[in-house]
Symmetry: C3
Subunit: 665 residues, 3 copies
């Protein structure tokens, strides 16, 4: 959907304030050109203090004050943390993991499938949305927050999983046992009544299917909330959600517990939170990959529902970074940048996850930089809203393969997302824009190049589609472990890599641990001075029609290939049979994109360039310096810099941690 | 209370002997000049073999034999381990942690609040003390042993915690919710009945309060035992307890699970156990800090109820160390040094926690050194008993802040006690005597200098008292995180550091992780060749009236101060906004104590000097060499060395791991 | 028992096949000269799909096909994994650990003492064995698989443990309390009803006894299965079991959870699985030590029921290794080498534990090497079957000491088996054959030298037997911690090392942690350029009559010995009071075996030589090169090489990872 301005704002928790200072807060927001707040999530116990006693006064107070100040409001349904009285009255609403109910306290530890929880959640959502839907301050809704399945495995979940399998198999137990290999260790299920709890299962196929089912519960839960809100919202209000990503103290990769590619469908606009390393560790790659996922879901602009202001002691930004990051989000397609959160919290778990304001509520360097950015955005908004992007390259990611590889890991210390990021970050650093899609939704023909990290568990049919895509002129870069197992995580009985070996022009019988092995570049694609270390996995490739790019240096296995390329029909496939260094990945990618003419700029990280087209069909170039060094660079772009209004003509001087916006002539 | 001699002894477990050798043991004790034993703890199941069947024969046997041998006896109430029959009949007496009863086996895993436990404990205590109170061998009692709350969180504890809060708040739920910030994540308690179990709480204020409440249970339990024993003991018998310290394979710091500053009140004399590294790792610092705490509780002498003989394989002392350590305890104010324990145990958990005797009960190097020390003490006791000390410096420590900083840690690898010890050890090494008190009991005006590590959670009123203390001429050294939160662990909404910023003459808005930052000394207090590394925490200080001692070397934050000093009224404050190296701490401390004229000797570690005044008002100097090198040192003291009777006049030669006692002329 | 040929085969799981390819599999097996398969284990749910519904069709199919192909079959009872319906109907059959039932899923997590489990297990065993006993393909049975006690500690186990103690003590509680030191921490048991669950015990004596009792349950369970099978099997069918070893991703040492020395008695022939590191980490030591244990049990040949083909990515063998390993097993006394397993599994837990065939069922380098080896064995079998061996050296190992040292560890990072292997591997590398026995079964007089690692918990009587053995001319090498505790893990009250100090001619009072101490060689036994580091443990030995081999370099303990030797009667004892380097162990061992004339070959690792006598009384020498270097070596053997038929006369050229078999003239 189109927005009429860049939304610049913050989560605001009136309920958490140690004293009432709403007016002062709004005054400081206005001064900072903040034009939107998100309110309402996790406040159920404030609005419904006891079962059935509703009081939305605090909500009204904030809405009225914001409206008067001309600040838009996104209202969150309050369900991601439940009241004490609900947990006390109905202990079963707490999520059960491995046969144990989790004790009340934290957020996001209830059972999203529990009928009592759902009954109470429905009532508070209806009451609350009905109450505020017609308030003129409200521009949209966020249903729940960072919803996941929380590992729910209660008896009712277990039962409904059995129904799900039963339906999928039309009751054909024999086929189910076969597909999932349940004979192994006597795990056969010879009667639906015998279906054991998934708590103890050692069957990776079943566990992966159960997690797929659990992700489906998230989609259903969000869809249900959207349907509820839909009954009350007005026409010009939107509904979004705050998706998040694999968390490693920041947003790291594809979310294992939610299928974003399904779950976004009920929403009007996609939202998500994006956290990242800061200070000398800031590269902007997280803003980019997470933005690419959020944008790709609907092939449209998205909202950054949360990103860090000060956050933790490790993450307080250097001067310049916070401003730079706001433009980085917009450059990736965000129509909103919303900080988490306005004021630092004075009690409980997130006291040290600091907001724009410190605990003293005073102006500070972070607030000042927000204000500077807010003032700029106020001016530039018309040129930056609803930016459109084009990508010739797509990443094919897969919740299913990610989950299956948790069952059958290729490494002690790295997972699917490490591989995804190793590949992604090289594209990012080369300034090549990418879309990110999953195997259920990708439109292969849109792209010139598809990057496929470890597509481990997938149907025959999709692999055949990939072969066809190459045959018709497409290009694919596969890594090790692609094509190995079918959609039930049953290993294929055909030559590996399953099905795609045809297009890749190789096969393999053995795979081993590198244990010190290195690459021998066998071809000019990889420079002989490269970092030839490999890690985690090493397939002993036998080229059928493929050309060898690199071999292994183990004299016992010197006849095997490590990396190959193969022409197939009108297209070409690179197959990477091991986990090489970033250096080698970069060379493989550079080689591929050069041959496809996809390298549009010569600059690379720490200079990051994002190009977009705005509402008025102007080309806007975002040029970032992600380093603490001042950089001078030649540029091919000719245009006008939007902050300074200076003309750009062949040369740019980039201050440390800075950004320039060039409107291309 | 005054003692008439130095007690030198050992814990003695007649019950654990593999065969009866009481007479032989006593013969060996006499030969070693051991004059006291502690007996009776953890022997409940021996004296009450079945419910209500009492037999104190073994106790009588030992008491009679000791009396005949003129060895004093301290009798422990036997409650710190419970009989099998009690746990079997009443499973609820076992402590419950996180909803799970701990299975029977170890000591100290019962519920000290359980009425059935208390009923049975009362009966055995009454029966036992009544039985032996008039025995002439008995000089005193130890109630229980190393008591803690063992994390008790049963339903009854939970209920009584709710009552405790209710009372504290006069039932004012609204104020309670506000003070503890319970709106956060919908944790509000809108009716006392809804109060959730503390097992799952994520509210650091509530968790800290619950631990304060748990510590209070320990105080109540000990007070209750003292009251019971009081009903039987004779007038000249004392009651003590064996306190211990944060345990890291030895006594490391302030005990988190007991409030020593409250719990000692019911006792006549303070006792504690002190364990320490040995061999090349021995510094004596643990003997000193633990002694300072025990002595400060009643500002009086204390008893070392337990300290190591051989202990574990890591701790077997070098020749000389055991003797040196005995005098080290006395130099700190101990009137008793009691080893744990007489004979090494032949079965069960502490088989390798060896005693004076090895498992073969034969004389050995440890026993021989005990004998040497015993013979010396026999002679010197009149000069060494009831030693008095004076301290101009006090450490202000805080159970409340320690606990709160477990909820909101400043480091992944260090806690409150690491900071306390980093500071304490530098005073120790500079030979400056210190008292150690908490915020509820300290008499500020007694001291010239107060050292305040991370006083994180404390009332406004106490911080104001600290300001007043400085204004009137006192000196304070604060570290980072002081004054941050109030007594409910609610972060102050005023400028940080809360309230004390006035006397410190600085404030800060931001704090960050050092992540490689170092100090830039900005002033002659810190030498430019110092170890400028910092760790864990870094407040970006803005001097208001303070003088900068050091800044940070990050060019992005070069305008901020790291360490400052400020004159305020007649006094002075040093504020340390980060965790610097020991080297820098030493220089800050040296500078401060020199300016206050508190450096009484020029020697520093490994020469440790402790000065005291004895009963006869003689000045006694203890001079230790805590190293394996022979050291020659000039001294300003003139007097007579008590072991050798040689005159000391300007020079001392100290053998490795040795001690000299100088009676000052 | 004698076999008529070398069995060369594989585990075969018809039930796990993704599609029926029995005929193709058999064709490939025949082509590879595979002559035996093991089938049937872990397939209960396939043969009894619902309670009481038996269908052995798949079993019949395989047996018939194998018979037709002239491939022998060993049938496993199917009990090591249980059907879903059994666990669903009777949740109590699942094993309980620490009060918690383990959820269904994995194999080997049921309660082997549970009467319901036993009732159902008996029925399936009877039905299955009865069904196939007369099938001509069946040559033998494997009862269960890698059976252990799985930590079973249900109420019934607890009760029967109390009965076991009661019986052992004839009801004498007082003596029991004394022997186990239960007075400690009030753990006394004053009435059998009070006996607490072993879940929480902190009494190392009791815990060790409980584990001995648990191991006894394994022996009883296997004996019970053998008795059942015995009722059906024909005369020429044997019964075996698949023992395994302490597992550290491969077979590492003595199995803590099973007493092999008792459990093998009901079997006709011993079987076991042997897994080992591979590639550059392969030394053959695991094949040797595990083979020595299996062979020593009945002083007879044994069967390798499982060893790796491809296994995990870390373990895929280099070319040559798989073949070399087959001969290595035979050289140690194996009459069967059976791979785990035929085809890699397509689903569930062991998908990446790969078999001879990869998932594509095609020929591959591993299969090809199996085929080569199979063809050779087909020819050489008559010369290699039933090989006999002679050992003058025995290792004395002890389940009891191993378990007791888990309760009282001598190290943070190493256990009993690390010490055993440190010693064993030096003998292996010196090409000295050893037997391995336990203290209940060893015939001391058979051996010239007994190696005794840490015989921690053992009866007085056995230690006296060891003294007598030395007195009569035997030689013993003891390590630290030998003789310390009696058979109830009660530390001896006599001088240490208990009883054996007489023959060792030393005693000690103190033991300490090395903490950086090193050895000072004091005698020509150890070279002065040796690796003098020591680890974990250091007894301060006082020589009584012994000669010092090494002292410690700590100046505080310079008078004590570290390693000593002592003549006692006609024999000699080396006592090693610390854990020295492999280098020092090698020198101590070399010195000892040279003096006893036990060094038969001069070659050492990586050349491994195993000598044996075959059925026809021919001497066969196996010469291995366990390295990737080609090696030329002089040899004293004159004979004929069996693969090449070339004459060997004074010189051998050994290819990397190869073996030669010399029939000695």
């Amino acid at each position: 959907m189109e927005f009429d301005k860049i939304l610049y704002g913050t989560a605001y928790y009136y309920e958490y304030l140690p004293y009432d200072r709403l007016d002062k807060d709004i005054e400081m927001m206005k001064q900072a050109n903040i034009n939107v707040v998100r309110i309402g999530e996790s406040t159920w116990s404030t609005y419904e203090k006891q079962d059935g006693q509703f009081d939305f006064t605090p909500l009204d107070t904030v809405l009225n004050a914001m409206y008067e100040a001309d600040i838009d409001v996104i209202v969150g349904t309050p369900t991601y943390a439940i009241p004490t009285w609900l947990a006390k009255s109905y202990p079963d609403v707490m999520v059960q993991n491995n046969g144990k109910r989790v004790p009340y306290g934290s957020r996001q530890i209830f059972d999203i499938t529990n009928p009592i929880f759902l009954k109470y959640a429905e009532r508070i959502i209806r009451k609350m949305i009905q109450h505020i839907a017609n308030h003129p301050a409200v521009i949209g809704y966020q249903v729940d927050n960072e919803t996941k399945h929380y590992g729910t495995s209660s008896e009712n979940v277990q039962r409904s999983f059995v129904q799900y399998i039963k339906q999928q198999y039309n009751g054909d137990l024999e086929k189910f046992n076969k597909d999932f290999g349940l004979d192994y260790w006597s795990n056969r299920i010879n009667s639906w009544e015998d279906f054991p709890s998934m708590d103890g299962t050692i069957n990776g196929s079943l566990k992966t299917e159960f997690e797929r089912f659990q992700r489906q519960k998230v989609t259903e839960y969000l869809t249900w909330q959207v349907a509820l809100v839909n009954q009350y919202r007005t026409e010009n209000q939107f509904i979004t959600h705050n998706f998040d990503f694999e968390w490693r103290d920041y947003s790291f990769g594809v979310q294992p517990d939610v299928n974003h590619f399904d779950a976004h469908k009920a929403l009007d606009v996609v939202g998500g939170d994006i956290y990242h390393p800061s200070r000398k560790h800031l590269t902007g790659a997280e803003v980019s990959f997470a933005g690419d996922i959020l944008r790709s879901l609907k092939q449209d602009n998205y909202l950054v529902m949360e990103t860090q202001a000060q956050a933790f002691k490790q993450q307080v930004p250097y001067p310049g970074q916070l401003r730079q990051l706001a433009y980085s989000h917009i450059a990736s397609g965000a129509n909103m940048v919303e900080y988490w959160h306005w004021h630092s919290i004075h009690n409980s778990a997130e006291t040290y996850w600091k907001g724009i304001l410190s605990h003293d509520f005073k102006e500070n360097p972070i607030y000042n930089e927000v204000s500077q950015t807010g003032a700029e955005l106020e001016k530039l908004s018309p040129k930056l809203v609803n930016l459109k992007h084009h990508a010739d390259v797509a990443f094919l990611v897969s919740n299913q393969s990610l989950t299956a590889l948790e069952q059958f890991p290729f490494s002690d210390s790295r997972n699917y997302n490490d591989l995804f990021r190793a590949l992604y970050d090289e594209f990012y650093k080369l300034n090549i824009r990418t879309d990110i899609q999953d195997e259920q939704h990708i439109n292969l023909s849109k792209y010139k190049l598809i990057i496929v990290p470890a597509l481990y568990s997938v149907s025959d049919e999709f692999l055949q589609r990939l072969n066809t895509y190459v045959k018709s002129g497409g290009h694919v870069m596969y890594t090790f472990k692609s094509g190995f197992a079918d959609e039930h995580v049953k290993v294929r009985t055909t030559q590996q890599p399953g099905i795609i070996n045809k297009a890749a022009g190789i096969h393999y019988e053995l795979f081993v641990d590198p244990d010190g092995c290195q690459l021998i570049p066998d071809n000019k694609v990889i420079d002989e001075n490269s970092d030839i270390a490999i890690k985690d996995w090493m397939e002993l490739l036998i080229p059928d029609t493929a050309q060898v790019i690199a071999k292994y240096d183990d004299p016992n296995w010197k006849e095997y290939a490590a990396i190959t390329q193969n022409k197939y029909g009108k297209g070409r496939v690179i197959y990477i049979g091991c986990f090489p260094s970033n250096d080698v990945l970069k060379q493989l990618i550079t080689n591929m994109v050069q041959s496809l003419n996809l390298l549009v700029v010569k600059d690379t990280f720490p200079i990051i360039i994002k190009q977009a087209i705005n509402n008025k069909q102007q080309k806007i170039d975002f040029v970032f310096n992600y380093s603490s060094e001042k950089i001078k660079t030649k540029t091919k772009f000719i245009g006008s810099e939007l902050f300074s209004h200076s003309e750009v003509n062949g040369e740019l001087i980039l201050e440390p941690w800075s950004v320039q916006l060039i409107s291309i002539n």
